[in-house]
Symmetry: C5
Subunit: 269 residues, 5 copies
Amino acid sequence: MEDVLSKRQRPKIDDYADEGYLFGILHFPAYDKNVQRLNAGELDFFLGPDYLVTISNVELLPVTRLFSRVEEDEHFRNQLFEKGSGRLLYEVLDDLFDYCFPILDKIAYKLDSIEDDIDERRSEEIVSDISKAKQEIISYRKIIKPQRPALRLLERRIGRFLPEELELYFDDLIDASERIWDLLDNYKEVVEALEDTNESLISHRQNDVLRVLTVFGAIFLPLTFLTGVFGMNVLYPGEGTHTAFWVIVGLMIGTIVGMIAFFRYKRWL
Amino acid sequence: MEDVLSKRQRPKIDDYADEGYLFGILHFPAYDKNVQRLNAGELDFFLGPDYLVTISNVELLPVTRLFSRVEEDEHFRNQLFEKGSGRLLYEVLDDLFDYCFPILDKIAYKLDSIEDDIDERRSEEIVSDISKAKQEIISYRKIIKPQRPALRLLERRIGRFLPEELELYFDDLIDASERIWDLLDNYKEVVEALEDTNESLISHRQNDVLRVLTVFGAIFLPLTFLTGVFGMNVLYPGEGTHTAFWVIVGLMIGTIVGMIAFFRYKRWL
Amino acid sequence: MEDVLSKRQRPKIDDYADEGYLFGILHFPAYDKNVQRLNAGELDFFLGPDYLVTISNVELLPVTRLFSRVEEDEHFRNQLFEKGSGRLLYEVLDDLFDYCFPILDKIAYKLDSIEDDIDERRSEEIVSDISKAKQEIISYRKIIKPQRPALRLLERRIGRFLPEELELYFDDLIDASERIWDLLDNYKEVVEALEDTNESLISHRQNDVLRVLTVFGAIFLPLTFLTGVFGMNVLYPGEGTHTAFWVIVGLMIGTIVGMIAFFRYKRWL
Amino acid sequence: MEDVLSKRQRPKIDDYADEGYLFGILHFPAYDKNVQRLNAGELDFFLGPDYLVTISNVELLPVTRLFSRVEEDEHFRNQLFEKGSGRLLYEVLDDLFDYCFPILDKIAYKLDSIEDDIDERRSEEIVSDISKAKQEIISYRKIIKPQRPALRLLERRIGRFLPEELELYFDDLIDASERIWDLLDNYKEVVEALEDTNESLISHRQNDVLRVLTVFGAIFLPLTFLTGVFGMNVLYPGEGTHTAFWVIVGLMIGTIVGMIAFFRYKRWL
Amino acid sequence: MEDVLSKRQRPKIDDYADEGYLFGILHFPAYDKNVQRLNAGELDFFLGPDYLVTISNVELLPVTRLFSRVEEDEHFRNQLFEKGSGRLLYEVLDDLFDYCFPILDKIAYKLDSIEDDIDERRSEEIVSDISKAKQEIISYRKIIKPQRPALRLLERRIGRFLPEELELYFDDLIDASERIWDLLDNYKEVVEALEDTNESLISHRQNDVLRVLTVFGAIFLPLTFLTGVFGMNVLYPGEGTHTAFWVIVGLMIGTIVGMIAFFRYKRWL
């Protein structure tokens, strides 16, 4: 009882074989709309030979839906209950795991759209999108990671409460949790690759910007200096003549052409 | 005895089965206010059939508090002591582990506030906050990591000093230490993700700054050059006329419009 | 049957020993030309003592080719079928694994050409090529990773359906999948090294660009300032004389030489 | 014998049970002052029932010191020798491991001083300090890593040469080597975190520098252009009047105020 | 036979116990001078009770040398052959492993010279050297990694073909391959640390360059503006007087001193 009340719990399965029941804690992702973050919804359950009690700290939609369907639909209730408490637990967990995939799909969709947009959109949005996707993947991993050994333990202990032909069912749950974990691993690799690509693109664009600045600076700073020289109020050779103007213009065009050739050679243009 | 006196010790459990006692060293995080750093507080204990001696190199608050409560409150003392020395050790360790979580919560709070502020605040503070949080997480991990195998060993060896129905208790301690480890792992991932995001944001902002500089440079360097040309003290066509002024102004406006169009096309504006 | 219909499946082998058949799901890479991406093609199979049924969600070319050859060539069919259903499955899987290597070769070729071009080409293309190669490797890994334990299981379970001398054959399949995994690991290391190199090169080139800009700025900004000083419409010493011009020119050449010496010393030139 | 002479050896323990002796190779860090680098000092030993021969490729100070003390101090010698050859080996290794910690402390001290200075000192020194600390940690890890399985093996094989009550002693050596490894792991994490922080700080400072440049450029480039326009030797409206001057000055002050407001809004000032 | 002919093979040992021979595939690094790259040279061997056949896809120098020595030197041949086929295989493999170390030494030498030069040389060469060393280490790891389990297997299976006293010999081969792997791991850490250091140095140098540019810009842009103001062809207070000149010069010196003080305070000078 203490475990149910205490707030900090890891997913675990405790087998009270003497008292004839199984106590388990499992965590499932639940999107909290208020803080726009993925939180762990805790599901505690007591599984006895002919009863199943579940307690959760937040409302887990699939559980609520299953139970309300059980209340309303007598036929469904009989069908479900006659197969024993183990089968009922399976139905609850199966619905909860099914509910995990749409969240994963949403993450996958976000990653896809980041990949498509990475060349085109302003980098600030991309940085923020990548950061959010990454934090979501990390939160999800935090919830699923300690789940996996607990599920394995559950499969081993559940036998007592299940007709024999149903033992394979819990295998499916482990399969689902392993699949979620594989996908999260893959998403983590993808989002990190996208982040690296984005970082490279930002660096590359910075080079582009700097090249333009440097080309303008390297061409016009010397030229402006030249005009400055001939704008001084001192007596230089050719001052106040037409010839000087055309000579200077020639000089300037020479400088420009030389610079452009230099930058072409450096492949900056 | 040598182990108690020597300064460098890893967490460990030595079973002196012949002498009938258990010697253990465990480490707990203790925040040292002087150097503002997380240090390892060492707890050495001798657990005999009817005695428990604990020695610690720094004051561990939860231990002090428990012992002073034992001294003051006779009822509590009796209640605690009648269950044997193993139970007493459990109480000590349980209090110490409970004391670990507030420090973790403080780290989590810091990470949350970094995440909220990362877009808005000056990057220097963020860099320093991230660095401090990271060092704290690393220090914490250093303390907890070697603890885990020692605790597992303790659980196996403690049986002799415990009434049977209490054996599950030490499971809770392992659970707590695993939970701390999971959280630290998660925090490490989070802080690294925040660091990467911050790095990307700094790069992105640098691009912003450079774009502004480049746009100003690319527009005004050529224009200033133009004014320089017509400021030279030589005789150029149209020198000293009104027409020339308006022609030049037209030329300049053309340059500006062209440049802005070019930068719009490059999406720098 | 449910497993065949449901969309989300991990590679797995289920042994329905009572019913006398083996059900398996394996994934193979299939290049989807529409989205230019590597997807997982799913191959489900039922292997009975004398039948093999395969179902796949996308067309797997090697399977189609094998089956059409079986249809057309009677001799080949007899030869294949007389060795039993296990051997037939081997042929299917062997063809599928053979088909994996050309895709790997294509990735290797891409990595080679990136390595050759990394010094010479524009960095934007390189960034995009590296990013695409990386995503392809990640997609491939996602497909092959969960395959490996399933193949191991298949090898252990396949014995019933195989003449004894053929047991080594399935070893070859595991060998092939391990080899693919090793290559993917190696490619991942290579592409990450290329990415780091490219990042360093971009940074290095940025330094080059900035050095040019700084050299031009540091030489011509002071000089232009000097010409500005002597262009002011105030009476400075030497105003309107020839001597002043040559003094100023001397001053400027001195500045230029000094600056170039300074930048040589700093090794920026 | 061949193993002693050959130069390339990994730490290992070979049990020549038939000949009744144990041959071992262990590596210990030895600071080579000439190249200012941490090298592996090799200690080869032959441990027989009543003899211990040690050979080392470089002078290992703790071994030299122990042996010279044995030579000088008869009482110490007797005390040491009467406990058997296994005990003597323990003393040698214990001294060698004790000698490992001061080097670790020096690294820890360096990391602490880098952390304190990271905000204040010039980044070039920090980069070089971090790089040196990292290389030292890597060298140390290279020496200790293959040591650990060899020590475990030694503990298992040493039993024959030790009185029973001393078996726990070799546990202490393993403890010491594990502690060194844990510390190196921790130091590696710390130095990598410091490197990342330093990298972020350099990027941040670059932003600072660029902001200053951009603010100056964006304010004075347009203003200089304006003065250029009115410095041209053409007839513009208001040329040669006092009013024009004050109008222009007003225009300039307006530009400056507008720019500063813009940069305040962008939080660059 | 198929395995020898097929091109894609992982290192492996197949024990054809019934036919009384052992078939193995091992890979060794072979430097291909044409493409300047490390490739895997494949050595296939058939080991029977009294024969050893080796086949390799490229010329492996040590094997060629051993065999030509065997051909020429009758004494050596007899000595080698009388110890059985297992011993002969050992000699071949031992020579091949000995041949691995010079390549490793060359890599180590390159890393050392990169470390020495990293502060001084132009960063472009360093980037390219680091990249090459890294690719070489990655290629080497690719060759050695799958080798290790194959060697372990070989040691277990070789017993049949070896006199008992020689069994320790194959231990040496495993030792050598483990040592190579350890060194490659260490080199990988070293080269990655060098890359990070180089990256930090490039960033640091960029800061240096930018600081110089900014200092020049921030000092001379305002000054040039000032000269521009007093170069305008309008009537400003003090126009055409000596006093104005000296007032302006004073103003400029004040600006310069103020700027330098500001940059000193910011530690940019």
